[in-house]
Amino acid sequence: MKLRSVIVALAALAAGLVLCRGHVLAASAEKGKAAFLQHGCWQCHGYQGQGGIAGLKLAPNPIPFETLSNFVRTTNRAMPPYREEILSNDDLADIYAYLQSIPKDPDPNSIPLLSP
């Protein structure tokens, strides 16, 4: 009985990952930028996901989608959770595509103002 539960759980997880990856593959960075604004991600993380005192840096080089998705759905930390009823899987995948599209930042040592 216990083994069956584990198998069912693993199957569900695998299906979820396939589903997630499917969403990611079909995602649009352009739509993601709009969703990033519409759902208020920018409020704490900034328009380019740069982060700040109220939210962590999301881009460039975002964390793996599965990790991000899991956190967004279930967080009990400072960030409020976004459940699927208010942020669809498609929108979340688009947001991730937007974060992936944000170009790398300049080397801080190349910015004179940061080495006064």
């Binding site: 208020g40 900034g46 328009y47 740069q50 700040g52 005192i53 109220a54 208010i86 300049p106 103002l113």
Partner: protein, 669 residues
Amino acid sequence: MARRDKSPQGSAAKGLDVSRRKFMAGVALTGAATAASPQGAAQAATTPSPSPALRPSALRPDVRMAAAETGTPKELAKATGPDGSDFMVDVIKTLNIEYVCSNPASSFRALHESLIDYGGNKKPEFITCTHEESSVGIGHGYFKVTGKPLMMLCHGTVGLQHAAMAIYNAWCDRVPVIAIGGTDIDAAHRAPGVPTFHSAQDINALVRDFTKWDDQPVSLQHFAQSMVRAYKIAMTPPHEPVMIALDLGLQQEPIKAHERESLYIPKYVPTAPPQADSNAVKEAAQLLANAERPVIVADRAARTPAGVKLLVELAETLQAPVIDQGGRMNFPNSHYLKQNARAQALISNADVIIGLELSDYWATVNRFVDNGLDGIGINETVIKPGTKLIGISSVGLVTKSNYQDFQRFQSLDVDMAGDAEASLPALIEAVKASIPSDGRAALEKRGEALKKAHADAHERTKAAAAVAWNASPISTARLAMEIYGQIKDLDYSLVSSSGNVSGWPNRLWRMDKHHNWLGSSGGYGVGYGAPAAIGAALGNRDIGGRFSVNIQSDGDLMYAPGVLWTAARHKIPILSVMHNNRGYHQEVMHVQRLANRRNRVAALGMDRSPIGTSIENPDIDYASLAKSMGYWSAGPIKDPAELGPTLKRAVEVVKSGQPALVDVWTQPR
């Protein structure tokens, strides 16, 4: 009308025939004597001078000083001005108050007239304000630069209601403001209509919960005692606002014949700040000296430049990391022991923590997470079991019940009621005596590790600042560093930083001097930034040689933008750079949080953020607003490449003695 005190006064005053000229000369002589006397030293202790060479405020009084402070002061003199409010001006002048900030009002018309005509509009000089909240805010910022309080005058009802929020900020930020509200007590004789609307039985009740002391004098002699007492109470740590209700009848009536023979002005002698109990200091020193992972946390610890030096001495003695919570500039951020970047880890790993004038000890060692479906959030401790907690704070000496600025209750192992800065010399001495002879090597090793941690943290901070460096709207890191690029070689004073720019100035600007950073509002009442910045800039102008810069949020400025006119009118040089994120951003996030919690998509209407939280559509043209009030201005700047050159021009304008404002469209945080 007021009962007149007919009792004979002290012999020094009785029978003296003092002309106005002689009286003022006497005041001047007394002032000079005060500056050179032990009392002068005591005054310096509670009235911080901008000079970094100021002696610590905690020096023990010598015999002469003790005698001077405990003896009965001699009265100064009598006044000969013809009217009650003239005498009031004589009293006020003895307190050496530089400015009176006010929006004019009929309930103090007599004092107003005496200040400018009898008193010559000097000490105090009238600063014309367009809102009472601005009057208090200017005094708030001025004190944090100069260590001297300002006076504000207001209608006792309508004006005081406008002022109340700013007084609460000053209360929470431990700043003295001498507030005087006009009122017309005699219902049988006061003018009907508006003056009666503007009178009340007890105007002070409105602010009694967040003032340290208040009074409603009923005679001129009573006023003299109340004014000197109010000043003395406000200027004794913990510094706090005080309030005097001033009857219009008392102001307007001529000085009675019998009063001319008896009126006197009590001498102001400052009170030495309260110090922590000596046995508790020794106990705390033992814990700190024998700790393996001590942490020092400071909020409003350094009241003066001397406080910064003392805190550095304590930290170096212990080789302990310092977390500066920023109520004042407590610790130089270039010093390797300043470890704000690792605050959470250090607190979590500490075995002994000492908190100095913390506004919220509970939140220093616990965490509240605003999450969870039950709507009450998550509370969790962040320290190890057995961590010893030490505190020195003067706030408990003035705790009141109604307003909750005392925060959640936190039990401490060694809890000392006293002024932290005044207590530091004794604590340092005790710590030095308590460090085990075989403990020096461990201290050096701890210091070396902290040097490396400080350098590593600085590199990480630089890397974080580079993210979105070229973004538009402009990142708050870019905003801060473009400003710093223009002022880093000046003796700058960041007079206010309203809104939230992710702490970039504190993280990346070199802040070694007490006036580099002045802290924030205290009570988080929006509307503090603009007037406090101008008040601090006024102080910096008078001190001379300092450049005042203000990071000004949009929501804060719109509470009372008329204060810009006051700066232009009184020729107060200040550079205000707008952190214009076009929203009440804290509230943007609060509404979003609640929408998420309830599984609803927040309604944006026509804006970027939840309805009711944006300041856009139409966008406010702050450059035009400032220009209309006499400022040099530019913006809105949206392209980061334009920011540096524009700021450079603005800095030159400010150096010439004018106020300038640059509007910048920014990222939210």
